[in-house]
């Protein structure tokens, strides 16, 4: 197959014809198409290359193992087992979970009790959550919701509690606002002044926005910036490295100026290699 010719539509038509003649299911045209293009990309040596590098290295020599490794993410691990009651879905799901988390357990002819013991161990460790979707199993149980609690003095309180999905994702205690809200009902006034402060990530980001906004050439050229005459010199303490890189942060491919997003180094440690 020729790579990246100019006639993409024609090339795509050819590809679809080949797929049909190979007996691939027309009902999954999109998935098949994406998979084939990924394969073409991979064989051309472009798989996982950063957006900056568009050089065509030509067909790469790769081992079969490497191909399987690269293609592995195309195999989804979602699985639906369906069937009438009592036909072994729950039984089977234990084995499937072990196949994902501890495949070495399934080598040879392992005894059912040892598989079940490993499953229970992973449930206890919080790596597996076994849940049944009853008719009354709600969003509040699955993601998060308010839970009524009575404290030692008999007062009713509502606490935001993570559900099974949020717990599984490790996000249950991720909300600083949730930690802060209840005890902050009765704040004490302290005297103003200069303090040593700890800025949570959100507060650091609030300050950093102003710094990032000021990293602008025009305001420097016009003499109204804190960075006049500072390019190439130290502006803050050298423990900080600020950068923007579309290859590691999920930002839009085009920015507010309709420019292709690209890496920037902002400020970096004086001794760093970048």
């Amino acid at each position: 197959m020729q790579s990246a010719g100019s006639d993409w539509v024609g090339l795509n038509e050819d590809l679809m014809t080949c797929m049909r003649s190979a007996g691939l299911d027309g009902g999954h045209a999109l998935e098949n198409n994406v998979a084939v293009w990924k394969l073409v990309d991979f064989l051309n040596g472009n798989a996982n290359s950063p957006p900056e590098s568009t050089a065509d290295d030509g067909p790469a020599q790769v081992s079969q193992g490497a191909v399987e490794e690269k293609l592995a993410p195309l195999e989804p691990t979602n699985l639906v087992l369906y069937g009438p009651p009592g036909t072994g879905k729950t039984f089977q799901v234990i084995e499937e979970a072990i196949a994902l988390l501890a495949p070495e357990m399934l080598e040879g002819q392992p005894h059912r009790t040892s598989i079940k013991a490993k499953f229970d161990e992973l449930v206890a460790a919080g790596q597996i959550v076994f849940t049944t979707f009853h008719q009354n199993f709600s969003y509040e149980d699955f993601v998060e919701g308010l839970r009524a609690e009575t404290d030692a003095e008999g007062r009713l309180r509502y606490r935001v509690l993570g559900g099974v999905f949020k717990r599984l994702c490790g996000y249950e205690d991720a909300e600083p606002a949730e930690r802060s809200s209840l005890p902050s009902a009765k704040p004490k006034a302290i005297e103003p002044g200069r303090y040593t402060v700890v800025l949570e990530a959100a507060a650091t980001a609030n300050l950093l926005w102003y710094l990032a906004t000021a990293l602008d050439r025009r305001s420097v050229d016009e003499g109204r910036s804190a960075f006049v005459g500072k390019v190439g010199s130290r502006v803050v303490n050298e423990r900080f490295t600020l950068r923007s890189d579309p290859r590691s942060t999920p930002i839009f491919p085009f920015d507010a100026e309709d420019h292709r997003s690209r890496p920037a180094r902002g400020l970096t440690r004086a001794c760093s290699r970048s």
Partner: protein
């Protein structure tokens, strides 16, 4: 060291230089201090969760004003002891980063899910006046 400034389309055309576009998705590299350890060793200080109502006071010193929100706490002898009323801050952002002596080792995703920033500890931060805002 300050390495790079962004150049918008308008200024690039006027100065006949290359434009860079407007950067977003900033990452501030995490440091090596566990977030909880940031409060250790502070005899008397303040834990600030978030800021709002912020604006420039003086661009030449990168000074801004803002109000604290979402939980502001007193730190005494290395422990967060109690919630305190919010403050208006007046502070040079450059001075705040310059005086920082510890950076958290965990980055959180903030600002419309595209910035990754750790918590920091800094000194001589001006909590200018108390404020009744919640």
């Amino acid at each position: 060291m300050l390495k790079e400034l962004s150049v918008g389309r308008y200024w690039a055309k006027k100065q006949v230089i290359a434009s860079t576009g407007a950067y977003d998705g900033y990452e501030l590299a995490p440091g090596d201090t566990a977030p909880d350890a940031l409060v250790k060793g502070i005899k008397r200080g303040v834990l600030i969760t978030r800021l709002w109502y912020s604006n420039f006071i003086d661009a030449k010193t990168l000074s801004i004003t803002a109000l604290t929100r979402d939980g502001t706490f007193l730190i005494e002898d290395g422990v967060v002891t109690q919630p305190i009323k919010n403050f208006r801050i007046n502070q040079s952002v450059l001075a705040a980063f310059d005086a920082a002596d510890a950076v958290g080792n965990v980055s959180e995703v903030t600002r419309s899910s595209v910035w990754r920033v750790p918590s920091i500890r800094t000194h001589d931060f001006l909590l200018a006046s108390p404020c009744d805002a919640i």
